[in-house]
């Protein structure tokens, strides 16, 4: 039975389900307990599961991310909340040198089944140190799965899947999407990590998007359909494992690729897709590859400047127009 709930509520349901099923699952983070998390994702969980399983931590990212690594290695399944992805840098050693490496360094004999939930994105006036979208950096570190659910439905299913996965998972949400509404089944279900989804099949132009850019791509697709342009929109859903086949299949079909992700242009996840296509499907390309991304700047505070940072539907349309010059 499906009903309409928000993205945040969907995540909450996933957490509650997993904590109920498995007492090794626990939640840690700043203000996740009594306050319910600054975006209310963990609302009500401490009342239900107690202070030991929904822990308010000191402001010590290194300690509690590293602590999650130690707990995960010794039989627990921690779900850490990092308040904004920007703060993960305080725990970078624990993420890169510890969490991502233990399984490999110890010859497969240690597992680190933990989830780090973060949010990216500008648009809430939170300025340069609370608005970044540098999730692509982690794609460059082997040993970390990266999930990016774009709908409340996928948020619930992918979080349950991530918690049950024996690997470290960086679970990337968007701070403006917590109030998005969507259909979510009441019961528990999983959505696989590492599988992209063709949310709108089309034959003219391929757009591969993440998080908030998926909805924008769909809006643009509907508009352009009326003008005779048939866009194929793919929700990438995971940066690692990366569903290369889905991307390549679509590019071979349409001869085009537009990527859409809020990270900065240089080193955007679209850059990796562009390189992938250049390596494996060059002969199919009829037009240049275009990355729709944020500019190579920090996010400014001033509202008009902040708005200009966020890739828009117009940016997508401009990208499509450029590609159409070659078709």
């Amino acid at each position: 039975m499906s009903r309409i709930i928000t993205y945040a509520q969907a995540l909450n349901e996933a957490l509650a389900y997993c904590m109920e099923q498995d007492d090794s699952v626990f939640v840690m983070g700043e203000d996740v307990g009594r306050y319910g998390g600054i975006f209310q994702v963990t609302a009500g969980l401490q009342d239900r599961f107690g202070v030991d399983r929904v822990m308010d931590t000191p402001i010590s990212e290194a300690a509690f991310v590293g602590g999650a690594v130690g707990a995960a290695m010794t039989g627990m399944r921690p779900v850490v909340e990092i308040m904004f992805i920007d703060f993960i840098t305080v725990a970078m050693d624990m993420v890169v040198n510890q969490m991502a490496k233990m399984h490999f360094m110890f010859g497969g004999r240690a597992k680190v089944p933990m989830v780090i939930r973060v949010n990216i994105g500008a648009g809430r006036g939170t300025a340069a140190q609370h608005s970044q979208s540098f999730h692509a950096i982690f794609q460059h570190i082997p040993g970390i799965k990266i999930a990016m659910p774009a709908t409340p439905h996928d948020a619930k299913g992918m979080l349950i899947e991530a918690i049950q996965d024996d690997n470290p998972v960086l679970f990337v949400e968007h701070k403006k999407m917590y109030i998005d509404k969507g259909e979510v089944p009441e019961e528990a279900y999983t959505v696989p990590l590492g599988k992209a989804k063709v949310v709108r099949p089309g034959k003219d132009i391929t757009v591969v998007a993440t998080l908030n850019m998926v909805a924008k791509a769909l809006t643009v697709a509907e508009e352009l359909a009326a003008q005779g342009v048939d866009m194929e929109v793919i929700d990438l859903r995971s940066l690692c494992p990366l569903d290369r086949e889905a991307v390549l299949t679509s590019v071979r079909k349409t001869g085009t690729l537009i990527t859409a992700d809020e990270g900065c242009h240089t080193g955007n996840m679209g850059a990796e897709l562009a390189a992938l296509v250049a390596e494996q499907a060059l002969d199919s390309l009829q037009a240049p590859i275009v990355r729709v991304a944020g500019p190579d700047t920090p996010v400014a505070f001033s509202p008009p400047l902040e708005q200009a940072f966020i890739p828009s539907e117009q940016d997508l349309k401009d990208a499509v127009a450029r590609v159409l010059e070659y078709l």
């Binding site: 001869g255 060059l282 002969d283 199919s284 390309l285 009829q286 037009a287 010059e325 070659y326 078709l327």
Partner: protein, 340 residues
């Protein structure tokens, strides 16, 4: 052999791979994309329809020479008054129109026409040849009387036996091919490091199109019979005019013959067609007064020019080549004997 066109022409990857698949030379295809980029659809369309008529097509009654000249000089034929028979536009008319001051335009007047991708490719390749290969030039006056007599003698028989009309050029091609066999250094290519002496002797014949010269090559001209050469030549020239040559038919050439014999040209110097190392220019065969054994006689004389790449072909070799060729043309019987 491989002519390097891959980096010079702008084309989308899908266009490039389709052209490769269809054996098309990208240099011959017009790009409709931004900045003249060749798109996949341009390649798809190329096969489907022959090239459109040149821009300056003008009225029907224009001599072909006048048409060519008009294009070269950027003259709008529609604006030219024809003074030839029944209002035909002649070369003189075009020249007059070209000399006249233009109504609009800047200080020098004139028209700006964007160069086609083919013209740009030609420009690039010939510049590369001229500025990379040090050219040296040799000329020889050849008495064509015997050759012309041979031609007259056998042409009917070949027509009846093989259904092929031979031309004097075919005899020239054969003579050139046999001479190339004797001089492997001339049937060769130099890349700066190695001299590649080609096994095949594929003699190219320059064909003038409105957009520029195109040089299809007659394959294995040293081994082919005269009527086979004629047959290839006729087919290649026809298809060149229809822009239906394959990339290989152009790229396989190992030597080029460029003839302006139909013009009032005594002799001229040609630029080598890269990556070949030599080119033969052919001037008009004309009646000339010559001395023979102390007697004054009139003979049909053509001046042949040979340009060679001095990096790998020295003066003596070039001279020997041209001398050997001349001997064959003046005594065609030599072509049927193995003479060193």
């Amino acid at each position: 052999m491989q002519v390097n066109t891959k980096s010079q022409v702008r084309a989308m990857p899908a266009a490039r791979s389709l052209a490769r698949e269809k054996g098309l030379d990208l240099a011959a295809i017009s790009g409709s994309g931004p900045e003249g980029c060749i798109l996949k659809k341009d390649v798809e369309a190329y096969r489907a329809a022959p090239a459109a008529a040149p821009a300056a097509s003008g009225p029907a009654k224009v001599t072909s020479l006048a048409r060519k000249l008009a294009q070269q000089k950027g003259v709008d034929l529609n604006a030219v008054q024809g003074s030839g028979p029944r209002g035909r536009v002649t070369k003189a008319d075009v020249l007059r129109a070209a000399a006249a001051p233009t109504p609009a335009g800047g200080a020098l007047g004139g028209r700006k026409v964007p160069a086609t991708s083919m013209r740009k490719t030609i420009a690039r390749r010939l510049s590369a040849s001229a500025f990379t290969a040090p050219h040296i030039y040799f000329f020889s006056d050849v008495k064509m009387d015997s050759l012309l007599a041979l031609y007259k003698d056998i042409k009917q028989e070949i027509l009846e036996r093989h259904g092929v009309k031979i031309s004097v050029n075919d005899l020239l091609i054969k003579a050139v091919a046999l001479t190339l066999e004797e001089f492997p250094n001339v049937n060769a290519s130099f890349d700066g490091e190695n001299i590649e002496m080609w096994e095949d002797v594929n003699v190219g014949l320059a064909v003038a199109l409105d957009e520029g010269l195109i040089v299809p090559a007659i394959a294995s001209a040293n081994i082919a019979s005269l009527w086979e050469i004629a047959s290839q030549r006729a087919d290649l020239v026809d298809r060149a005019r229809d822009r239906k040559l394959s990339a290989d038919e152009i790229q396989r050439g190992t030597f080029t013959i460029s003839s302006l014999a139909q013009y009032e040209i005594t002799h001229f110097t040609a630029i080598i067609n890269p990556p070949q190392s030599a080119i033969l220019s052919v001037g008009k065969t004309q009646e000339k007064v010559v001395a023979e054994n102390g007697q004054v006689v009139v003979r049909q004389v053509a001046t042949l020019g040979l340009s060679v790449d001095h990096r790998i072909i020295d003066g003596a070799v070039a001279a020997q080549f041209l001398t050997s060729l001349k001997k064959k043309l003046e005594r065609p019987a030599l072509m049927f004997m193995e003479l060193g």
